[in-house]
């Protein structure tokens, strides 16, 4: 693998006209769109106070990146690795197969302008964060662009490390992935903070467009420090016979909002929407999902699991929406909450709207505590009660992680999960 530490040229002056216009229009849209307020359906149960972002501003980065580059460890032998600090590219390593376009977004905007234009933020943000989506569109300066040509099956993982450094720093990480016919790719985004004390804000957007018969796997790991906040908007579209997996892990930040929308646009398309969240202390995770069955004969399966400790709080609101004519839809939605304390709060609002025939749909949400019998069983094998509860909670998360079907990525995700459980075991110290 060839390592190229780039001097990070400011490419914004060379951005194509369409992009500059999009940013200008997005700025206007941002300013004209009201801030979400209490009573908005999309923000039910949400902590609106968290939406005061006025203290945050983008800052760029011109310091010494050595330490954060050294800490940017993901899967073993990634196919490509990009490291951003405050949206500034500080490392780009790549060993990708011929034909695959895997570039920093700022570079792709210049070198593959038309291709980016065709796919960049094409869907309307409809799960509540339209204002922040507009802010993102107006402010984004870099990120990842991946285009996989027809029939190219990419083995291995492309990973991106997003670091936030400095007090009140605002970043706009962007990931745009487009797969051609019968191609395959896997991308992991990791969001982290340079230290434990500076409050940062990430307003991230990932755009996934899966072409016919392709396989697109995306994993987002949110492990920001506990002073930071995050809004992450995910838009996925799956063409005929395409298969997409979107996975979100939340272990960090004081507050995170995830909005994930998948459009099943072709018959035979499949979407797996997965998430594991492990909040403790006063952390809050707020997740909204939308499984939009546009086409007939598509399949979607959502599994979100939360293990809540201490005074933490989660909100899950999900909707399966089956369009008129989207017959023979298979759609499933499950949110499960494991309540690890008496003071945590899990809110679930599963939903279903069906406008077609011969549809198989189910949705459900459960909240439960670890049963005494289960604990007794582990303790009767000599395992102490703290470890027993941890094993059970970890197992609860593992059931979702296993659906990633890739050993390297699963072990990376589990590493973050184990770090969180270790933190919980020591009371957050």
């Amino acid at each position: 693998m060839s390592a190229v530490i780039e001097p990070t040229p400011d490419l914004s002056a060379t951005f194509p006209a369409w992009f500059n216009e999009r940013q200008k229009a997005a700025r206007e849209l941002y300013e004209s769109t009201p801030t979400p307020k209490r009573g908005d359906e999309e923000w039910r149960f949400a902590n609106i106070k968290q939406l005061d972002f006025s203290a945050y501003a983008p800052s760029g980065f011109d310091g010494d990146a050595t330490d954060m580059i050294a800490r940017s460890v993901g899967v073993e032998a990634p196919l490509a690795k990009l490291v951003f600090i405050n949206d500034t590219l500080v490392l780009s390593e790549s060993n990708v197969p011929t034909g695959l376009i895997c570039l920093p977004l700022a570079e792709a905007l210049v070198s593959h302008s038309e291709l980016v234009e065709k796919h960049f933020m094409q869907q309307e943000t409809r799960l509540g964060s339209a204002k922040f989506s507009a802010l993102h569109a107006a402010s984004v300066i870099n990120g990842l662009f991946v285009f996989v040509p027809d029939k190219l099956e990419v083995e291995g993982t492309i990973e991106v490390h997003h670091w936030i450094s400095g007090e009140n720093t605002l970043v706009f990480p962007h990931t745009l992935i487009v797969t051609g016919r019968h191609s395959k790719v896997r991308v992991v985004d990791m969001f982290r903070s340079a230290n434990d004390s500076d409050s940062g804000l990430a307003i991230a957007f990932n755009d996934l467009s899966a072409g016919p018969g392709s396989k697109l796997d995306y994993v987002a790991i949110q492990a920001l420090n506990e002073k930071s906040r995050m809004v992450q908007i995910n838009e996925t579209s799956a063409d005929r016979d395409a298969s997409t997996t979107g996975f979100i892990l939340n272990t960090g930040s004081t507050w995170a909002r995830n909005e994930s929308l998948t459009r099943l646009e072709g018959p035979g398309s499949r979407s797996d929407m997965l998430s594991v969240s492990i909040p403790y202390q006063d952390q809050e995770y707020d997740q909204r999902t939308f499984q939009h069955h546009v086409s007939e004969g598509a399949y979607s399966d959502l599994l979100y699991k939360n293990s809540l400790y201490d005074e933490s709080k989660t909100v899950f609101s999900g909707l399966i929406f089956v369009d008129e004519g989207a017959h023979h839809t298979d759609a499933y939605q499950t949110c499960r909450n494991l309540l690890m304390s008496d003071t945590c709060e899990a809110n679930s609002m599963p939903g279903l709207e069906i406008n077609a025939d011969q549809v198989k749909c189910s949705h459900g949400s459960t909240s439960s505590q670890i049963s005494d019998e289960e604990i007794f069983y582990l303790r009767a094998r000599g395992i102490d009660p703290v470890r027993a509860r941890q094993l059970i909670a970890r197992g609860f998360s593992v059931e979702v992680v296993e659906r990633l079907n890739d050993e390297a990525v699963e072990s990376l995700v589990l590493q973050f999960i184990d770090e969180k459980f270790a933190k919980i075991a020591t009371g957050g110290a």
Binding site: S371, D372, E373, E374, F376, Y377, L378, R379, A380, R381, G382, I383, D384, P385, R387, A388, L391, I392, R394, G395, F396, S397, V398, E399, E402
Partner: protein, 250 residues
Amino acid sequence: MSLQIKDLHATLEDGTEILKGVTLEIPKGEVHAIMGPNGSGKSTLSKVISGHEGYVVTSGSVTMDGENLLEMEVDERSRAGIFLAFQYPSEVPGVSNANFIRAALQARLPKGEEIDAVAYYKHLYSKMDLLEMDRKFTARAVNEGFSGGEKKRNEILQMIMLEPKYALLDETDSGLDIDALKIVAKGVNSMRSEDRGFLLITHYQRLLDYIKPDHVHVMSAGRIVRSGGPELALELEETGYDFLKELAPA
């Protein structure tokens, strides 16, 4: 050296008395069987010895080689050498059997000491072979989606791996077909030794054809009402538990 139970009384949390003075001594090297009708307190006895928190010991004692078990937590008792093979083992989703047994073994090591993974798997596989268990079993979540027979075999595997001083087998024969029963019995018999005592709890005599007990006890209404040799099990098989009706509790 024995597991000694003296005049043990135990109630449910609501005060209902289930064990009404059980006295029993299981010396190392012996296999004792407790038989009796449903509801006689057999399972409760095994749970109370293991430390289940759903029961309150109101009087009496349980000692293991002189150590007071009743003062120990559930997990301490296990580490000290008590093993309970559950009648209804719990499922533990997302935790593989290999990791589960490893965590149990790890719990027995001093802090900072780690199990040698290679040696562990070698040992685990040899014991799984003894119980005719498929290798795929190691990656499956504990008891999840297991048949009744698989669950019981898993209990015996755990017992073999943890090498307890005293093993309590709570209706390990229930839900087993004859082939599975023979395999389970083979596993138990492989563990019989001068250093280990067994308490088999069973409703039927069938298990005792394959695991020959040294002593047989009959439990009824929270007490042991008869004790004898292996021939007592055969007698019960013929006559059933009807004789208990004549033994009205004092």
